[in-house]
Symmetry: C2
Subunit: 104 residues, 2 copies
């Protein structure tokens, strides 16, 4: 039985956002996202075909939605981002670790 | 946008195991499991139709598999339990918080 750790091999590059797939099949992709003070580029919006359930495991972040709503997230906060709900990362702490479950 | 917190409303009943569904659709169920020093009953085995990806968010636990293998899990450790891989919780710390993604 193979056990891995979510906090292993964290990159340390300030301003970067790093994606690592932890599980994937036809219906679901689970990924770790590590953000280092890394907002999405200005004017960029995620517009995804899948629903995304996401939780902040470490750090803080602010998500911004195309309707102008901003959501401040702390450790343990989770939400579901419906498919095609346009959103971007407005800001993150120095090291924010997310767990995202993309559901087809 | 509705935000909830994984650490809200934790029950405190020693010896209990508590399940809370965080997201569910036809393909996926995401749940929080809170274990309080709560091994599975002796001789009981989980035998699930779905693959389960599981991570320990807080605390520690030991999983036992029907082939005799024991796996010790610490904070951040994750693994995939294949469907019908019979397993049980051999032991947990006083408060172990799991995040489980059941994938159809």
């Amino acid at each position: 039985m193979e056990v891995k750790n979510l906090f292993a091999n964290l990159s340390q590059v300030k301003g970067s956002e790093e994606f690592l797939t932890l599980f994937e099949n036809a219906n679901v992709k689970i990924e770790r996202i590590v953000s280092h003070s890394s907002p999405s580029p200005a004017g960029f919006w995620y517009d995804q075909d899948d629903d995304e359930w996401v939780i902040v495991v470490r750090g803080t972040a602010i998500l911004e939605f195309a309707n102008g709503e901003q959501v401040e997230l702390h450790e343990g906060d989770y939400l579901t981002i419906a498919r095609h709900a346009k959103h971007r990362v407005a800001s993150t702490s120095e090291e924010t670790i997310w767990l995202a479950v993309h559901v087809r």
